[in-house]
């Protein structure tokens, strides 16, 4: 008969599925970071580290949302446009004099509606997620254009006054707690909550089950529609928060905000070992993936690589990361 083996803490951690891939991504992160640091020691400076943590937060949030959806075997192409819509909508409302908190609440409600629509189209009506979210992607971007009459917004302080605008901007972007930028803390808290939700709760378990085998999940009594809707709600929640951050950063709404972020989210997840085919991956990996992504961008900038070169390097990295995970899976 099988008896529980006595295992140490390390072994126990390594038994968590997806941990191997996540740790590999962290190892890759260290290598990349050190390599850039050798080429330009400024990479190691405290200021740069602070900035890195702040800018990776946006990718982390998008990555979390996208990972939830990818683990069910679906995809969310709309999340970047939702971020853009969120930035434009909060900014527009604030330029109309709406109090920032209320502006955010209204915006969040609209974003979650998009998530609900995504979830119902994919879960209930079985639309291919690629198509369903392609549609909502255009819709959300269209809405971002329309809210302020096809123009970027004015500074959010024009009606509200400088103080209100500053406190909004500090809360999401420029302020610091314990020496780190608020942006990072916000993303980190959201990360912890959703990490817990995915790995420790019933819904989290159902998310993995659906991605692994929908039919089996359904026959076991899992509510596939509800669970799918939840993943898209989480995804668009993350998109909305990124929109707030983008709005706070610029102090205004930009119609192109969050452009192609959905793909950065896919990349962060995939680099961290979240399989786009569903069923596997953990958010710790997404964390590492977002950090790798941001470090690459930052490092390439710091060594003065051209934009074209940056894109190519990043593209190669994504393919390489997936290739490594595919080869590793084959060995298992």
């Amino acid at each position: 008969m099988y008896r529980a083996r006595k295992t140490g803490l390390i072994k126990k951690i390594m038994r968590i599925k997806g941990m191997g891939a996540a740790l590999t991504a962290f190892a890759g992160l260290v290598v990349i970071y050190v390599a850039f640091g050798i080429m330009n020691p400024m990479v190691f400076s405290g200021q740069n580290i602070l900035n890195l943590l702040r800018s990776m937060s946006k990718y982390l949030l998008i990555g979390i949302g996208q990972s939830y959806v990818m683990i069910t075997g679906n995809i969310d192409l709309s999340i970047g446009s939702v971020a853009g819509m969120s930035a434009m909508m909060t900014a527009t409302l604030m330029t109309l004099g709406v109090n920032p908190l209320l502006a955010m609440l209204i915006t969040m409600a609209v974003c979650l509606t998009i998530g609900f629509i995504n979830g119902v189209l994919v879960g209930r009506f079985k639309l291919p997620p690629f198509i369903a979210t392609l549609g909502t992607m255009f819709i959300a971007r269209g809405a971002a254009y329309i809210v302020n009459g096809n123009r970027n917004t004015d500074n959010i302080g024009v009606v509200l006054g400088k103080d209100a605008a500053d406190s909004f901007q500090n809360f999401f972007y420029y302020g610091k707690i314990l020496g780190l930028f608020n942006t990072f803390w916000i993303a980190f808290v959201i990360f912890l909550v959703f990490y817990f939700f995915l790995s420790k709760t019933r819904t989290g378990r159902h998310i993995y089950a659906i991605g692994s085998n929908v039919e089996a999940a359904k026959l076991s009594g899992v509510d596939v529609v509800k669970t799918t809707v939840k993943t898209y709600l989480i995804s668009e929640f993350c998109g909305a928060v990124v929109g707030f951050i983008l709005c706070a950063q610029a102090g205004m709404g930009n119609m192109e905000a969050g452009n192609v972020y959905e793909m950065y989210g896919v990349a962060a997840g995939v680099i961290g070992g979240v399989s786009p085919l569903g069923g596997s991956g953990i958010l710790l990996g997404t964390f590492a993936g977002a950090a790798v992504w941001q470090t690459l961008e930052n490092g390439l900038n710091m060594i003065g690589a051209q934009v074209g070169i940056q894109r190519i390097v990043i593209g190669v990295m994504v393919v390489a990361a997936v290739l490594v995970s595919v080869i590793r899976n084959r060995k298992d």
Binding site: Y2, K218, G279
Partner: protein
């Protein structure tokens, strides 16, 4: 002692597009009995049980469970009503571990947090009870099919259902596991559980069955005490005619050597395998699950990488790097796992049959000749008596046994020198089994080498001319089918058991 009626289904009907799967079927189950539900492939057994377990909605009729009438059920409600089912096809989330799969949909929680430790312990308890050595933390996808089947069984046991439906639970189990399962069934019976047992392995029935219900073509035929029927009567009721010979062997003279494998090695499960096939004979491959027979066929066919070994066809060495090479050389394989390897379940029967034979039905310009294609498919359907409303319906919607026939059918459409059958009769009804034996015999007469893998000893002994036994990746014995005994085969098949 006769138990009370716990399930009664009356006048149930159910149609799928183009098929009347159930037509006024009635079914009854009492507590503390094993009810065998029998019928040919496509008779509607699985459909009836899927209605009872809330997978399908019935079109008409009434369902009573424990005296309460249910209009329509979903899987969760059925479970709450006390009905658990082990489906014919495995339904596992391959990325989740054993315990996660067992408790899927009814996880134990502590507040809002999953209570993994408790679920793992419970899982372990049920697995121990079944006598299987599986770590509850193991990822299911990395386990062999027989272990996965045992997990399905443990999962069904763990809900403490009053009504347990087993749809062909043994088709992927080894004899030891089957014994374990039967003793569990006896125990559940004595606890007052009612069990519906579906199987095409009729010889199993005598060990456990109390009553039988027989269906044919979506209709109820008869039911009664198992002892009141002879096996021949049961078969006649199932297929609607008498089957004279269960194992029709024909005599051929053994001709020249057609095919030879020398020193084949591929991974742990194929070690130093050498054998040859001659004209006019069927060579049976016996052994236990996991003996390496399937892996051997995969290596020959070029699916898996060979480490070493030569393959000789008609005295010439052939290089086989991939299935394409094998097919071109004239070697075909009807694989064991029809859902995974044998069929594209979302394509139609037409497309499935045509797929490996496109070279024969395409013109020079690569355009498919529709007429030739139709002819080929209709011939396959006729030859194998595939039960289907037409050739343009999804292969996935056929009953399990008919799917298996499509797998065989698609390979017979082309002229080959060697045909490998890997468990061709798994999940197939008695009548269809005989048809498959006839097909093998026809190939044998035509001088085509036939390699026939089967875990059911009676059929290997009844159909093959020569029996090769494998154990733990090696060939451990070769016997003449005329003189071989079950014990002899078993001895070779378990040669290394003690060392494992």
């Amino acid at each position: 002692m006769m138990g009370e009626v716990i399930v009664s289904m009356e006048h149930i009907s159910k149609s799928f597009p183009g098929v009347r799967a159930l037509d006024d079927v009635s079914f009854e189950l009492r507590s503390g009995e094993v009810m065998a539900l029998l019928g040919e492939n496509g008779a509607g057994k699985s459909t009836l049980m899927k209605i009872l377990s809330g997978v399908y909605e019935k079109d008409g009729g009434t369902i009573r469970i424990m005296g309460r009438e249910y209009e329509n059920l979903n899987p969760k409600q059925a479970l709450d009503a006390g009905v658990a089912i082990i489906h014919q096809e495995l339904n596992m989330c391959k990325d989740l571990n054993v315990s996660e799969n067992m408790f899927l949909g009814r996880e134990h929680i502590n507040g809002i947090v999953l209570d993994n430790a408790e679920m793992e312990n419970t899982a372990r308890k049920y697995l121990d009870e079944l006598g299987v050595d599986i770590d509850p933390l193991e990822t299911v996808g990395s386990l062999p099919v027989s272990k996965q089947q045992m997990i399905e069984i443990a999962k069904a046991l763990s809900v403490n259902a009053k009504i347990l439906i087993m749809d062909e639970p043994t088709s992927a189990l080894s004899s030891r596991e089957i014994k374990e399962l039967f003793s569990i069934i006896q125990r559940l019976k004595s606890q007052g559980c009612g069990i519906v047992y579906i199987s095409h392995r009729l010889e199993e029935l005598a060990h456990i069955t109390d009553r039988v219900t027989i269906m044919r073509d979506g209709r109820y035929i008869t039911s009664g005490d198992f002892d009141s029927f002879t096996m021949d009567e049961i078969i006649a009721n199932m297929v609607g005619r008498e089957i004279k010979e269960k194992f029709p062997r024909i005599k051929c003279t053994r001709g020249k050597k057609v095919f030879e494998v020398r020193g084949l090695n591929a991974g742990r499960s194929v070690r130093d395998v050498s054998f040859s096939l001659h004209e006019g004979e069927i060579v049976g491959f016996a052994g236990l699950m996991g003996a390496g027979r399937t892996e051997t066929t995969r290596a020959i066919f070029g699916v898996d990488k060979k480490e070493s070994g030569t393959i000789i066809l008609d005295d010439k060495e052939v290089r086989i790097e991939n299935p394409m090479d094998a097919i071109r050389a004239g070697i075909v394989l009807a694989p064991e796992d029809r859902k995974k390897d044998g069929l594209c379940t979302k394509l139609t029967i037409r497309e499935n049959v045509a797929l490996p034979n496109l070279d024969m039905i395409c013109g020079r310009d690569g355009v498919i000749n529709r007429k030739k294609e139709t002819q080929m498919c209709e011939e396959a359907i006729r030859n194998l008596s595939i039960k289907t409303p037409g050739i343009d319906i999804d292969a996935g919607s056929l009953s399990g046994g008919n799917q298996q026939k499509v797998v065989v059918g698609k390979w017979l459409a082309r002229k080959s020198r060697v045909v490998i059958f890997d468990e061709p009769t798994r999940g197939i009804d008695v009548g269809a089994k005989v048809e498959i034996y006839h097909i093998m015999n026809r190939l044998k007469e035509q001088g085509i080498a036939v390699m026939f893998i089967s875990s059911e000893m009676p059929e290997v002994m009844g159909i093959a001319d020569r029996i090769i036994v494998m154990c733990d990746g090696r060939i451990t014995g070769e016997l003449d089918a005329e003189t071989a005994t079950q014990n002899e085969i078993l001895k070779y098949a378990t040669q290394f058991e003690s060392r494992l």
